[in-house]
């Protein structure tokens, strides 16, 4: 606990208690917090100056260092609540920097001048802060819950932060694990970063991995890859050298900084994942009108729909047909915008042919080319409607945030980070082919029973702690003496079904014939889903594409078929977009994640209710066992969620060990 003075109403110096929750951090000097209300925005407490003075950071201090080192502490005093109730600006939050530098921020600044923090926020923050570190991020969540997004934005502005800011680095932890034994079960996207951080903190780490590779759900398929789903027998990939395709995670959103952190640490080069390519195809069937069972280019679809939409809206604006109190200036700006956005003829506000939507005959050295006519609106509407229903996440005017370009991925496959980067770092600390069958904890240790891949015999290992990266669906198949709450929580979580198929082709017809370099094509065939093209090695001989991606009952149905029949179905459906498929087909490799040993599901399908009930239980250790994985995170089904969960659990475990 820290006792410090701080100003209250009328600048009287009072004594109050600060909840110092980051227990492993050095304590601040009380006098540094001694201030009064009138000095709380004094520049001498500016964050950057203090840090630069204390530590040997380059000047200016890199933003990412600043971000990682900011923590929030909450002052708990009735006076503050009184101040808030009175509507006055005041201090509630201190920035405490781990290296004993303390800065004071005026919280009113955080909420914007003239605004003030409500007693409600303070109380709920205080309540939530008990027993866990209050980070800036957690505080922001509370702010959002209480004051809405405007409050969060004001807060971020006051901190000089970017709204995109997320967890970008592992927690800064002091002390050494001094050989405390931790067994990580599962070398997946959660187990790998957890093991990496614990090794760096001086723990004696062993990683038991059931599969013959590091990565878990991260699985890059190449020639020679073999798999064996339950009830389906073995499949072996026979693609030529150089083909690769990711059966699991295949793309990384631009804001998944935890993932990028390890790409930096382990020197994994990244390339673009296009996701969206305007020259990709869009195909629809079972619709009314002449466009049934046709494919068009995405640039045609987007140009036409934006064009018609602009035309109708612009004409309505022009005729003042909208019953809106728009000013003449509003109308002119909006009309002008629509003319440029939809490519309208400014004279009569009509949409027509333009070179945005492509050419019937391309311009060349002999001719200026011929511009295509738009599709008639009534022909296009059923097509546009169904394809947006099927692929709105990609094709909405603004794609869903996670899928916005530019996404990235490791060059050569997602496993370059896991089965190469992490695996080399771990060395003999990772034991492959060692499925765990039983985890038994008592008061002072955990005993893990597993099948030793080298001998095929049962073996046991003892540890002080276990960090378990097994998906909840598969964890149920392991005998573990969890407490009732954890056991019930794990059992309550359903998992989604998903099937992905990679197909190797002799020739890159999508590039040679259709001029599609990377990205995807979209269909409204739910069994087929999207087609995804390789984003590298353009114009080389052949390659592997994502040839089928489906979910739910479609995934269940297709997965019930033998591997060969799944491939035949994918080629039959995919040929509606690429008739070359059958001719160029080499072989397919499909992964139904709900049938995959050690996965038994694609990702947990939480509802808002179940998440609220289950997540707090999953995130806390059960005795000496800590769970780790994307199922502990709101960033579900992304590797980033697993990284962040690993950082959270490592911090919890290390704090516990340091406290003895």
């Amino acid at each position: 606990m820290i006792v410090a003075g701080i100003g209250a109403v009328g600048c009287a110096i009072g004594i109050m208690e600060i909840w110092c929750l980051e227990k492993n951090l050095p304590r601040a000097q009380p006098q540094e917090l001694r201030t009064d209300h009138s000095t709380t925005i004094d520049t001498k407490y500016q964050y950057t100056d203090d840090v630069s003075a204390e530590r040997d950071y380059p000047d200016p201090v890199p933003q990412r260092v600043l971000r990682a080192k900011k923590y929030l502490y909450i002052i708990s005093i009735p006076e503050i609540l009184t101040i808030f109730d009175s509507g006055r600006e005041s201090i509630d939050i201190l920035h405490l920097i781990p290296d004993t530098v303390v800065t004071v921020q005026n919280v009113a600044l955080a909420f914007g001048r003239g605004a003030h923090m409500t007693a409600n926020v303070s109380q709920s923050v205080h309540k939530l802060a008990k027993g866990a570190p209050m980070t800036r991020r957690r505080f922001l969540h509370l702010t959002g819950a209480t004051l809405g997004s405007a409050g969060v934005l004001n807060m971020l502005n006051a901190w000089g932060q970017n709204a995109m800011d997320g967890l970008t680095e592992p927690p800064k932890l002091d002390g050494n694990g001094n050989g405390t034994k931790v067994v990580i079960i599962g070398a997946g996207p959660g187990g790998c970063p957890a093991a990496y951080e614990l090794i760096k903190l001086g723990y004696d780490v062993t990683i038991l991995e059931a599969r013959d590779r590091v990565g878990g759900h991260v699985w890059t398929i190449r020639g020679g890859t073999h798999g064996e789903e339950y009830g389906k027998g073995e499949q072996v990939c026979d693609w030529p050298e150089g083909f690769w395709w990711d059966a699991g995670p295949s793309r990384v959103p631009f804001y998944h900084n935890g993932f990028f952190h390890y790409c930096r640490e382990l020197n994994v080069p990244l390339i673009d994942h296009k996701n969206l390519n305007l020259n990709g195809w869009v195909y629809a069937e079972n619709i009314d009108g002449p466009m049934n069972a046709t494919k068009i280019r995405l640039h045609e679809l987007q140009a036409d729909m934006a064009g018609y939409t602009s035309q109708y809206l612009a004409q309505a604006l022009d005729q003042a047909a909208l019953d809106e109190p728009l000013t003449a200036e509003d109308i002119e700006h909006w009309k002008s915008y629509l003319i440029n956005w939809g490519i309208l003829d400014a004279r009569d506000l009509t949409y027509g042919p333009s070179d945005h939507r492509g050419f019937a005959v391309l311009p060349d050295v002999y001719s200026p080319g011929t511009i295509n006519d738009p599709y008639p609106l009534s022909d296009l509407l059923p097509f546009a409607d169904t394809t947006l229903q099927a692929a709105g996440g990609y094709l909405a005017a603004t794609a869903t945030f996670d899928w916005q370009t530019t996404m990235v991925k490791p060059k050569g496959g997602m496993d370059q980070l896991y089965d190469v980067g992490f695996r080399e770092f771990f060395g003999d600390k990772v034991k492959l082919n060692c499925p765990v069958t039983k985890i038994k904890q008592d008061d002072d240790k955990v005993t893990i029973t597993y099948t030793d891949g080298a001998t095929g015999e049962d073996a046991t290992m003892e540890a002080d702690y276990v960090m378990c990266n097994i998906p909840l669906s598969a964890l149920l198949k392991v005998s573990v003496n969890f407490g009732d709450a954890m056991s019930t929580a794990i059992r309550s979580v359903p998992y989604a079904m998903a099937l992905r198929m990679g197909i190797g082709f002799k020739r890159r017809f999508w590039e040679e014939d259709d001029w599609i370099y990377g990205g995807q094509s979209f269909t409204n065939i739910s069994q087929l889903g999207i087609l995804g093209y390789p984003d590298d090695n353009y114009l080389t001989q052949g390659g592997a594409m994502l040839g089928m991606y489906n979910f739910g009952t479609d995934a269940a149905y297709v997965s019930s078929l033998p591997y060969e029949d799944r491939a035949k179905l994918a080629v039959r459906l995919g040929s509606k977009v690429h008739p070359q498929m059958e001719e160029e087909f080499i072989s397919a490799f499909s992964v139904a994640w709900h049938l995959e040993p050690y996965s038994l599901g694609a990702w947990p399908s939480f509802t808002a209710e179940s998440r609220a009930q289950v997540m707090p239980i999953l995130q806390e250790p059960d005795g000496r066992i800590y769970l780790v994985g994307e199922h502990l995170s709101n960033v579900n089904a992304w590797m980033e969620g697993a990284v962040q969960a690993a950082w959270m659990q490592v911090e919890k475990l290390h704090t516990r060990v340091m406290q003895g």
Partner: protein, 177 residues
């Protein structure tokens, strides 16, 4: 003024959202007042769904995969006299099993469950859409609370607590048992 435009756009957006939501393809939405299916019709419809969807994990013989996917043939949960836990499991998922709430209508879920309860060696009573609706109404807000604690499921070779190595299991190491 600006607010009014914003409101108009928001209304447009919500209309689009509603349209999209209404158009999300589901396999069946027979919530209309169609006459209740006979048990034979239920079994026919249930078999149709079972052999295209459920079969992926629970297998054509209903025996599942030992230690991985629970058997439905002679299964403890499917044969409980009170079908509540079975209905609940199909609706909301459990133990890694997917949820089918929202995918199938109450009539279809009743048909699947009736089929399973009467197929193979099973011989339990049929289930109606009303029973499915009752479970949906009673448990929709409490997804973590199972209507039947595992401890109350009769012991047997297909008990859901069965592990890969039952000989290792003891009350201490099998939580909830």
């Amino acid at each position: 003024m600006t607010r009014s435009v914003t409101a108009r756009l928001a209304a447009l957006v919500s209309i689009v959202a509603i349209t999209l939501a209404a158009a999300i393809p589901i396999l069946s939405n027979a919530h209309d007042a169609t006459p209740a299916m006979t048990v034979d019709e239920q079994i026919e419809r249930g078999a149709q769904i079972y052999y295209s969807v459920c079969v992926a994990c629970h297998q054509a013989d209903g025996n599942g995969v030992a230690g991985i996917y629970l058997p439905l043939n002679n299964g403890a949960i499917p044969n409980l006299e009170d079908p509540t836990l079975f209905i609940y499991t199909v609706l909301y998922g459990r133990g890694g099993m997917p949820r089918f709430n929202g995918t199938y209508s109450d009539e279809d879920i009743a048909a699947i469950i009736t089929f399973v309860r009467q197929e193979w060696d099973n011989n339990a009573s049929p289930v109606t859409a009303e029973q499915v609706k009752a479970v949906r109404d009673n448990y929709s807000a409490t997804p973590i609370v199972s209507p039947t604690p595992d401890a109350q499921i009769p012991e047997g070779k297909n008990h859901p607590e069965e592990r890969q190595d039952p000989s290792e299991a003891s009350p201490e190491s099998t939580p909830g048992a």
